[in-house]
């Protein structure tokens, strides 16, 4: 048992830890990409322009109604082709291949973006109307009003929801192991295959995931407490 998980070339300990690090990296970059997508599409959903609303609604409906695995297959098999197609428009005709990390981040980011969109939209709606009106009364233009008054409040209200999206994102990264990215899932598969000890390595993977979940829960709880100081709202209570 200790031999199996020893560090160095003999055991699988360091490989598994590197897999865990990769999982955290992919999840974090997907979450960030997802939040960016979420902000853009939440703005679309809240706008008064019919076409933007339609596009945002189609996006969230598709992602929330179609299996994640299918989205990952689409990007895994079609991602490089799409990039080459765009590059062709700009006059580049060479072969481009995206690595598994980039494809994984885009795929999981697109999935978590749909959930972030709903979280951020809900958070914007939860900002009291008076805040918008007060800002306008003070003569703030739309940009400073949004950046300085609304955005900080949205960030605070959205934090618990983003915490949930993080958990979903973390678990969705296990699916990109099918594209060959060596994260926890893939690494435990490799180790299980070469040692013929699937039970032990899948148990180790379970423990690693639970550990990451636990640590990130602590982190999000702390952040929530920090940013809701002085607020007697449903979040602080």
């Amino acid at each position: 048992m200790t031999e199996l998980f020893s560090l160095g070339s003999q055991g699988w300990g360091d490989e598994m830890l590197r897999g865990a690090l990769m999982t955290v990296l992919v999840s974090a970059s997907s979450l960030i990409l997802g939040i960016v997508i979420g902000i853009i599409f939440a703005a679309c959903k809240l706008s008064n322009i019919f076409l933007l609303k339609l596009i945002a609604n189609i996006y969230t409906t598709i992602i929330r109604g179609i299996p994640e695995l299918l989205v990952i297959y689409l990007l895994f098999f079609g991602g490089s082709g799409a990039v080459m197609y765009v590059a062709k428009i700009f006059g580049y005709n060479g072969y481009i291949e995206l690595n598994a990390f980039t494809i994984g981040t885009i795929a999981v980011g697109a999935i978590s973006g749909a959930y972030s969109t709903e979280v951020i939209r809900g958070a914007v709606n939860a900002v009291p109307k008076g805040q918008f009106e007060a800002g306008k009364t003070l003569g703030l233009k739309p940009y400073p009003l949004n950046m300085m008054v609304i955005f900080p409040q949205v960030a605070r209200i959205a934090l618990p929801g983003i915490g949930n999206v993080w958990q979903i994102t973390l678990k969705d990264t296990a699916l990109i192991s099918v594209t060959g990215l060596v994260e926890i899932m893939r690494q435990s598969r490799i180790a299980a295959g070469s040692t013929h000890e699937p039970f032990i390595f899948y148990t180790a993977a379970i423990i690693l995931y639970l550990l990451i979940t636990r640590l990130s829960n602590i982190f999000f709880d702390k952040a929530e407490k920090k940013y809701s100081q002085g607020f007697v709202t449903r979040i602080a209570s």
Partner: protein, 226 residues
């Protein structure tokens, strides 16, 4: 766009619908029973029941479904005592491993939904049925459960959609349902966008039907009037 290919692959992919639905329906029914048991354990107030239930839910919700699937399919088969036991004819079949994993997963997730539903049943109902001399079991079956169903229905509708989506994972352990067939066609034809559109529309259609029927049930049961 290769429309002819889309047309052809549509008829291939719909052959996977029965398997997807079969797995989803069996796992949902079994998972629902499991969920009620786990929810009752959680709110029993006895540590010996509630603590295992808590950790079961924690374990399942904290790990990816794919990992659980691998654990059941590859991990359990490692032991000779399992391979020699009466369970082996079940555990060696990817079909049953898929159903077992999905059952456990939806059992854990929906136990939380049902727990919320049971907790929302107001005390007055329970006191009233107590006053009428109903036994605890009868109160649970005739009062608590029906109200719980009604309360939990909207959240349970979401869980059903998640189940349809989750069932796509069983394609990884060689089952040829919608996603499995789609993947095979993609790797043969290298037309990911076309096949994605076809398979994706089928999933959207199934989920649309679920949303419609849950809405219908909600209206019938008057969920919105509570």
């Amino acid at each position: 766009m290769r429309f002819e290919l889309m047309y052809e692959s549509f008829f291939k992919i719909i052959q996977g619908i029965p398997l997807t639905l079969q797995v989803v329906i069996i796992a949902t029914i079994l998972g629902f029973i499991l969920a009620i048991l786990v929810a009752l354990m959680r709110i029993s107030g006895r540590g010996i029941l509630s603590i295992p239930a808590y950790y079961f839910v924690y374990l399942i919700r904290g790990t990816p479904l794919l990992l659980q699937l691998y654990f059941v399919y590859y991990g359990l088969g490692q032991f000779s005592f399992i391979r020699e036991s009466f369970l082996w004819p079940i555990l060696r079949e990817p079909y049953w491993c898929g159903i077992i994993t999905l059952t456990i997963s939806t059992g854990a997730y929906s136990s939380e939904i049902i727990r919320g539903g049971i907790m929302s049943v107001s005390k007055g109902y329970l006191e009233a049925s107590n006053a009428l001399g109903m036994s605890k079991f009868m109160t649970f079956m005739k009062v608590t459960l029906p109200i719980t169903f009604r309360q939990a229905l909207p959240a349970y509708g979401n869980e059903l959609i998640l189940m349809v989506k989750a069932s796509s994972l069983i394609s990884i352990i060689t089952l040829m349902e919608i996603t499995g067939i789609a993947r095979t066609i993609i790797s043969k034809t290298y037309a990911p966008v076309e096949i994605f559109l076809v398979a994706g529309s089928i999933y959207l259609f199934i989920n649309f039907l679920i949303v419609m029927s849950v809405n219908f049930a909600e209206n019938r049961l008057g969920v919105k009037n509570i």
